[in-house]
Subunit: 344 residues, 3 copies
């Protein structure tokens, strides 16, 4: 990851923090959601800073997309997590931030790469929240670098439009895990929902929820689904690309629901849906704000992967989602193999 430079405003940003007991599960492994929240905090600072280097409306960088991201090594209580973020591409109305997460054991000096992520932001005017302002261009190290950025920009634009259409379909609400005692290892058995009342510290200066806060809630519910399915120590392995189609305002109640879609020998894919309900401004109605797929793995006491119990599928709908999940699983496996070969 190289810094494109040009103006001080687009210089890299570093943030770090010691991991505390509250950041981790009972085995001492830090939740993926804590890392995602730190990644997004870094991205939103570097993005907002950059977009305000020109004259015109003051604006805040709002997260619109996170590319697929993998958790490369587990992080533990007492380690220091360093997040570095740099702007790597700008279009007229959006910018890409690349983020690297290093976990450092300050007792042994050992460092490991914990995560790499790419986030897309758009600048929203503080005067008029529906107005998207222009992004000042960055200077690239080479024409090639700019061209690669443009390709990533075009690719994510297409995908965002596609999922936008999909999200706006009326997706049927998930069944309730509590209606009746469900059979073990079914989708219904482990399905879970949480609700969260959006408070002041969840929000940016213009009173919309930070993308990182939403991702932390999503990871939390996905982790509960995974633990309910296999009753072991589970950790976030990866998160598919997430698109943030609609913002969530302070005072909303957010319902976050997770359900298993696919299970391989060693991994579980969980679909997470986020619905926002503006309690007081009732005329706005409830809406789907975000959805994403989280992949979890199960670990033993030495942090070695364990087998995952197979998923019992009930009905056509679950079968369809299972097949789609399997396709995503095989595709990402093929991609990993191809990359490995390329590196050899």
């Amino acid at each position: 990851m190289s810094s494109p430079g040009m103006r001080e405003a687009s210089s890299p940003l570093q943030l770090c923090r010691v991991m505390l007991p509250d950041d981790a599960n009972i085995m001492g492994t830090v939740h993926g959601g804590i890392i995602l929240k730190m990644i997004e905090e870094a991205g939103s600072i570097v993005g907002t800073r950059h977009c305000n280097t020109q004259n015109g409306d003051r604006c805040l960088a709002a997260l619109v997309r996170v590319e697929k991201t993998e958790f490369l090594s587990p992080v533990f209580i007492g380690e220091v997590v360093h997040v570095s973020a740099v702007i790597t591409y700008t279009s007229k109305h959006s910018l890409e931030v690349q983020v690297k997460v290093i976990a450092e054991n300050i007792l042994t000096g050992a460092k490991k790469l914990a995560n790499k992520a790419a986030l897309w932001y758009v600048p929203c005017s503080l005067q008029n929240v529906d107005k998207i302002t222009e992004v000042p261009p960055i200077k690239y190290a080479s024409a090639e670098q700019e061209e690669e950025g443009r390709k990533r920009y075009e690719a994510q634009k297409v995908e965002r439009l596609e999922t936008k259409a999909r999200v706006e379909e009326a997706i049927p609400p998930p069944p309730n895990p509590e209606d009746a005692p469900k059979e073990r290892y079914t989708v219904g058995f482990s399905q879970s929902s949480l609700i969260h009342l959006v408070g002041p510290s969840d929000c940016t200066l213009d009173d919309f929820v930070y993308g990182g806060v939403t991702m932390k809630l999503m990871d939390e519910v996905a982790g509960i689904v995974a633990a309910r399915h296999c009753n072991t120590n589970i950790v976030t392995a990866s998160v598919d690309a997430i698109n943030f189609h609609r913002k969530i305002k302070k005072g909303c109640v957010v319902t976050v629901t997770g359900r298993l879609t696919f299970v391989s020998n060693r991994s579980m894919e969980i679909e997470v849906l986020v619905d926002a309900d503006p309690l007081v401004e009732k005329e706005k109605g409830k809406y789907r704000a975000v959805s994403a797929f989280f992949t979890f793995i199960s670990l033993d006491k030495e942090n070695k992967p364990l087998n995952v119990p197979p998923l019992k599928i009930e009905g056509e709908e679950e079968q369809r989602r299972f097949e789609e999940g399997k396709a995503r699983y095989l595709q990402s496996k093929a991609k990993r193999l191809a990359e490995k070969e390329r590196q050899q």
Copy 2:
């Protein structure tokens, strides 16, 4: 409330904290659950301190019951909340703590009584969590004072036994608010559930959840139910006696469900059920840990009470719960009137 004195350990305890934005709803009114959590923190400190003034096993005071409590005045962001707790009765294996909550506006100097509560604790040995140790006796100001304490002790003992039987009935799980779009003002429309993964800071030194943490979650879900029903600014008016029958261990997933049981012109009664699911120690199974009735009122912008929309009852079960709620409402109204007359 006078301090019974005798030994340093049973001297009153004072704690205070400034109310922050995250403690309050978007109107700036502090959540009842924040106050309940502070009350229980004070009770658990004064109780644990007292029970360790004798030789023998070191122990922690575990909350077993909170008597019915009323929120006498709303508290706002920026105010300082003072909680004072004193032990007012001891039996061989339990003790009563009385707590007073004063909210102080430090800019004007104005003080108001926000809450008064009585809590019962039992000491659990740190060496053996299932062993209940003995409580050192306190000295009473008068024989009369001791006698009144004994009466309170006997009364709550009977009630705890009664509800224990009731809780252990198989209460049918609440229907899912998401199954299908519900008609407005029905019970199903506003019913809400949250789940919470119990973390280190939720727990005492022996890794069981503080009673105050549970009450905060209960108030949170009840508040969401109330806001969904009336779409206005709502506040906790009172909480019926709560019995904590079974403890909840670190690493459990707690599901907290709230549903409207009764609505009067000016108030809503919400039943809140807390189920604990020990994710990893699966053999223990899911269990009902606590249940309670919260009463909320709806306020306008000047904090004056508003009318509440009537509740649309569906089915016999809801009708039965409505009648029971109405009985509780009328009983507590009669009690308030009687007290008012007595004071005149």
Copy 3:
């Protein structure tokens, strides 16, 4: 502040965070305690990292002293606070960390120096908490730089010994602010106490409280005292050197008491005392862990300083403390003037 370099471990550390509503008072000004906590987090990371660059016991850097520190400009919600820490001196068993705090408004690009501080740490073995390990030496840019460090080291050593003697006097417990309505502007009127039960996330890996957590609580109580005295928006102006004589363990109840000692036209000096009470390990007894003097100023809506009401002194003890506070005030005023002249 220059980096002494030599080994990677003593390279500077940067941490940053966006200021959220809960970090600030109702006027939007960030609490001094939030800044102090960030400063100490940076110091403890850089110190622990350095002390583990040699073979031997793994150890944690424990805060023993913070030199007098001034808050040079107020920080507001939404600003990004950058903290950079670097090791500037090492003795055989202690090290000095210098810290600089910059607040950045990411909307306007404006940056201001918010604070500069110097902290002293000693490395405590993780195997044996009472063993102090050796500190690897750093390399200095010049002999002069090393000599200046040695002078700072000797000076603080003398002062730490002096205050150690003082702290161990039996200071009588503060009277209860609620006992009786006190006359306005007296010491008793504004005196305040808070208690905090030490939880897991307040602690380092060896279960002792972070110095930064203690300083945050001290600033909180001092802020309440100041607001009670002048009923306006108040902010931390400076903190006198703080010595951390005794560590505080997880599970303790910490009582933090603040009382006015001296008031000038434009400032209030508040003495803050921290007592730790190991609830369960009763044989250890309650003890004074830390004490310090905080200076606050009162601001109007444009953040301009306001006059402070004079303090009504009652009794010889208060008079003595007032005179001592006045001496500190005059001394620090003289020092500021001397520095100003030197810079011209």
